[in-house]
Each structure stands twice: as structure tokens, then as C-alpha cells.
Amino acid sequence: MGIRLYQEPHLENPILVASWPGIGNIGIIAVDTLRGMLEAEEFGEIEPWDFFYPKRAVIHKGVLEYLEFPDNKFYFKVIQGKELLFFVGEEQPTEGGRVYAEGKKACHMTELVLDVAEKFKCRRIYTSGAAVALTHHTTKPRFWAVPNSESLISEIREYGNTVLMSDIEGRGGHGNITGLNGLLLGVAKKRGFEAICLMGEIPVYLRGLPLYYPKASKSVLEALSHSLKIEVNLDQLDELDQRVQRRIEEFYQQIPLAIRGQLDKLKHVTYDKPAGPGPITEEEKKRIMEDVERFFKKRGEGG
């Protein structure tokens, strides 16, 4: 069980951008779009068979020709003097029926990703995912940024459209990032890499739906573009976003009017610490959460 490198690009001090699927596939869409846009070249993979169950078998004339596993691939690109490594995992290695990776397998996979980062002397690692927030699908999502080192906070504040945990009222700077997008941040800290996790906001009422949320991927990509100082064309994500927004709107119209009325108030939420009385009260936020939970519970029961 290990890493297979097809070639060893000569790199001095690259930045690694890694992502796995998660809520709304926000992080992985952002990272994979950037990778595709830059035409980064595949140079290695993590051997999958100890981490994953196969996803497809092909039998031809009675002979098992091959078994396909989820991809876990490394790519590289040198652009405008900047060296980038990408890691894109098609699945999180889960155990015991859990949704997100945790435990031995998850730690092993993060260690392998970081082994490659170390081999190529990476100076910085980015991961990305989703932040479930009291926002509305018609407003521009911000991204929550969590660094693994104090020294990165001032840099993050310059990105714009950013939320730090301490900006969110009631959290006291605390929170958690589930799965590998979070775990990598912690293991990176242990191994002495500086790392930042960028999480695009997804409205709380969309978190359980089997939908992509490219609107938030755009926010993550903008942050990456700013941080890496690379210009990116967002047209592709805009198109995808328009298609998904139409589906979200269809779903939204099915929500009972009374709950929708509450959710509409989220258009005016400033989720971070308000300077004065905000347009939505804490009482209203609480009621929205209760209504949303009740609606989805009822919907689930109804099949």
C-alpha cells in the first residue's frame, strides 16, 4: 500500500492543493476546475486497493479484465514561475459505514499525501471543503478559512470575502472540520507544514441534498486565485452554477410558504459579529434552524 510516481518533476518549492469530495462537492469542484484549467500533468497516485472497495468490474468473454478503483491522483504544473502540485481524491476512505474518513485508514492516506509534499519540498498546503452556514442560495457565499498556524491569519484577512472562525458569533473561534479536508490540516501541522483549509459556504437547507454547489466552489477558487496569484477564468463554474441554481430554485419552491418566508430572511444575514442590531435576530435564526430541521425530517419520513 503506497505511492506510485510515474515521473519525478524537478520542483524547488511547490504549493500543494488537495481535495476530496464532501458536502456539495464544493472543495473538489474548485480544485479540480483549477487543475483542469491549468492543464496540470498527472505524475502519480496513491495505490487504492487497501483504502477502497472497487467501483467497477469489467468481464469480457468470461475473463475478469480489470477492476476499477476510485482515483487518488497527483498532478503538477509550473505556471508563471509558480510550482503547483494537486492531489485529487475521488472518494474519502471510510470505515464502518461512516460518511467521512476517520481512523487508521484516513490517517494513513493523509500521511501518504504529505509524504509526497515532503518529497517535493512543499512550502504550503491548501485543502478545501464546505462550511454549512445560515446563508441563502441567492447570495454570494463567503469562504471560511482555517489555518494551522497563527502566522497565516494576517495573510488570510487580506483575501477578501473571508470569514475566520473568530468572526462567527457564538463560536469563540472554535469549530471542527470533518473528514480528510480537515484531517490533512492537522497532520500537516504535526509534520511542520503550513496549511490553510478554505471552505465555501453552503446554505444550511441544502446540506443534505445530493447537489453540487458550484456557487461556493467559485468563492473558494477566487480565494485560491488570490492567494496563488494566478488568474482564473470562472466561466465554466458560472455555467454549472446557473444550471444548479435552477434546480435549487425548483426545490426551494416546494418548501412550504411559511418556512420559505423564514428562509428568505437569510438573504439579509450577516453571520459574523454584527456591529449593531442586525437585520435578523438570534431568535429568528434559531427558529429558522428548527423549521429547516422539522421540514427535512418530515420530508425524510415521507420518503
Binding site: 472497487p54 467501483k55 468490474a57
Partner: protein, 277 residues
């Protein structure tokens, strides 16, 4: 045995070469369990090794079947007179690659296994009165050649449909291929209304092939008796319940039942066979 693989060897064997037959306890129609039990019973299989369950099964409690508490078992048996090794196990719920490699570690390093036969049932939407067929999937061309002389369906084309996963048998066959161990999946389609019960006809189909291929000299009289008894029970069910007869008649005429009718036939047959004991 490498420390990495959690296998307990109770007795070292002195086999110069052998074949391994493998069956899972949760197979449709209990095919894998029944065939491996039958081989062990008739060929005096002796347990000699087992895979420890901790890494592969959820051990948060026990399941209860037929009033009895169950615990996952993954055991190897040797039928020394026939150079045959039998592996009977529950299907692991995690750590599949490690589990399957553990099986092949025992097969290679302790039993000198040269051929692997993996039993697997599939669902069939035909009536129980249709003859059972034996489908094979192999991992190496050389073993396909060897199978030419038997009455088998050998040229199947298949791709896992979207939203589904390959079987554990395919995973094992693929790992065996990586180790250059010739392997065959022996798959028998079982009538859908017998999938949760037992299908002695399917058992006999697999056993007959193994008997011929591995020269096991098995006496099938008890299996034949079970087939006769089940056929009689199903005939009785048809005569007592016209709707069962109608559904089975339609299946025999190659007609398809609706999903609801399939469900009803399954329910009625299972109830009837359970009552009959």
C-alpha cells in the same frame, strides 16, 4: 505467516499441491455455505486455520439466527484424501483487501494451492423448474482453456452497472490474478423466490462440477433427496394456492411478473416452505 495478516494456524499441512474451494455464509440461497458444508461433511474436512475477525467484522454485539447467537467465522478446512482445502466464511464488512490477501496467504504458503474456485449465487427471474446453469468467470486465460471440456457458460460479458459495486468474489479473483493464482468464480442463478431459502438444485450444479473437475468421488444421494423434497413441496404449494401456480406458470412461459407480483410470490413461497419445515 506475515504478522500483518491476522491468521491463526492450528495445524501445519503437508500438501504438495491443492485446490481451494471458497464459499460465503451469506450467499443467496445459502449456496456457498451449503456447498462448503457438504464438501466438509462428505470429505471429512478438518479445520486447520482461521482468520481472526477483529479487523473485518463489526463486533459491537452478536446477531441471532434461528434462535442462536452467531459470531463471524472465517475457517479453513483440509480434506486430505483429495488434496482439497475449503474456506467457509461470513462476508467481511471492512478491510476487504487485507482479508482477501489473508485467504490467499494461507492458500499459497500453507496449502500450495494451484487453483481457486469461488462459489457465488446470482438472482434469476426464471422458474425453479428451469435447469440450473453454471456461469464461470476466470482471471487467467490458461484456466479458461481447462474449463472448455465442462458444461459451463464461459463467455459472459459484464460491466458493473452505475450505482452498483463489484462483488467480493470479483475482488478476490482480481487479487488472485495479481498473485498469478488461477481462479474461477462458479456462479449459479437462483430463482428469486428461493434466494432467501435454499436451492439444492443449485448446490448440486456446483458440486457436480467440482466432483468432476477435482475427482472428489462424492455420493449425491442426499442432495438428490433434498431436490426431490423441495420439488414436491413446491408442487404442493402450486396445487394449494392457485395464485402461486399462476405466477410460476407465467415464469415458465418466459413472461415477466410485476415488481408487486414478484414480492407476493416470494412472500407466499417463503411462508409455505417455512411452515413445511
Amino acid at each position: 505467516m506475515s504478522k500483518e495478516y491476522p491468521v491463526k494456524i492450528h495445524k501445519e499441512l503437508e500438501l504438495r499441491q491443492s485446490s481451494l474451494v471458497l464459499g460465503w455464509g451469506e450467499d443467496l440461497g445459502n449456496l456457498g455455505g451449503k456447498v462448503t458444508d457438504c464438501l466438509n461433511r462428505k470429505l471429512k474436512g478438518q479445520e486447520f486455520a482461521e482468520i481472526e475477525p477483529d479487523d473485518f467484522f463489526s463486533l459491537g454485539g452478536v446477531t441471532i439466527e434461528d434462535n442462536l447467537a452467531q459470531f463471524p467465522e472465517s475457517k479453513f478446512y483440509v480434506c486430505s484424501e483429495r488434496d482439497l482445502v475449503v474456506f467457509r466464511s461470513n462476508s467481511p464488512g471492512a478491510g476487504w483487501c487485507k482479508f482477501l490477501n489473508s485467504i490467499l496467504d494461507v492458500a499459497e504458503h500453507h496449502c500450495q494451492v494451484e487453483e481457486l474456485y469461488i462459489i457465488g449465487a446470482m438472482i434469476s427471474f426464471s422458474a425453479h423448474t428451469a435447469p440450473r446453469q453454471l456461469f464461470t468467470v476466470v482471471n487467467l486465460a490458461e484456466i479458461k482453456e481447462v474449463l472448455n471440456q465442462y458444461d459451463l457458460v464461459r463467455d459472459m460479458d459484464y460491466q458493473t452497472p452505475p450505482g452498483e459495486k463489484p462483488t467480493l468474489n470479483s475482488f478476490l479473483l482480481w487479487i488472485a490474478k495479481g498473485r498469478n493464482i488461477p481462479g474461477v468464480i462458479l456462479g449459479v442463478p437462483i430463482p428469486f423466490y428461493l434466494a432467501a431459502m435454499e436451492d439444492p438444485q443449485a448446490q448440486k450444479k456446483v458440486l457436480s462440477f467440482l466432483n468432476e473437475r477435482l475427482d472428489l468421488k462424492i455420493d449425491f444421494s442426499d442432495v438428490d433427496q433434498e431436490i426431490r423434497e423441495q420439488n414436491e413441496q413446491l408442487t404442493r404449494a402450486r396445487s394449494l394456492f392457485p395464485e402461486i401456480d399462476d405466477y410460476i406458470n407465467r415464469l415458465e412461459s418466459n413472461l415477466t411478473l410485476s415488481e408487486e407480483e414478484n414480492g407476493e410470490l416470494i412472500k407466499k413461497i417463503e411462508e409455505f416452505l417455512r411452515e413445511e419445515g
